[in-house]
Subunit: 127 residues, 2 copies
């Protein structure tokens, strides 16, 4: 979405906006990878086998533009760039969790995503 909602895009409903920001093939994965730790470009690339650098770059740029992800580039050679969730970015984790839980119910199997890391769950934030 790249923050277009705040510029010119108009949504019928906020769900559309949310899906624009966190939807698609890769963004949920990226956000999930970053939920508990900073990761470098190469680290992200490896944790999501199959994504091309072009795609990863594009998704990260959009997430950054939407304020969910922080990009920190260090002036070194070879380059080092670290990605992490912003505070705002962390607010989507419960939403992702809700999506994950429903998906588990739908698929009738366990969540592949590693839940052992310290993350708020739908239950822990729901009251």
């Amino acid at each position: 979405m790249v923050n277009e909602a705040k510029n010119n895009k108009h949504y019928h409903c906020p769900v559309e906006a949310t899906l624009d920001v966190i939807g698609g093939k890769w963004k949920p994965l990226i956000l999930w990878q970053l939920r508990a730790e900073k990761l470098r470009f190469s680290g992200l690339q490896q944790s999501m086998q199959g994504i091309s650098p072009k795609m990863l770059t594009k998704q990260l740029r959009e997430l950054e533009a939407d304020g969910l992800v922080l990009r920190e580039a260090y002036p070194e050679i070879p380059p080092r760039v670290e990605y992490s969730l912003t505070e705002f970015g962390k607010t989507v984790l419960p939403v992702l969790d809700a999506l994950c839980e429903w998906g588990n119910g739908y698929l009738g199997r366990e969540c592949v995503l590693d839940k052992n890391k310290d993350v708020k769950t739908a239950d822990s934030i729901s009251q």
Copy 2:
């Protein structure tokens, strides 16, 4: 998605499955329209200005195949077909609600979707 998860599609994570089932441009809207009432094809078409009959048909067929929506056709002329949420379909409403709420926060404005109808909210189901 049309239920492919249960056939051959494999997801990295359940979030992907969920987004396949309820994501896209129209499905959230359709599900929302059906949250409290049965609607005919023409009624759905009108409540979502802009959708073409082709798109609406396609989305409804997929939702039906995924078990979220029930289609009831009456043998009359002119034809009458009513669409409603199945019990399983109703289980996505809290998820939609979570997406809606986050979207509102993101957009900083009120939900366009009419919340005055009797629907479970994220709060009411969360404990």
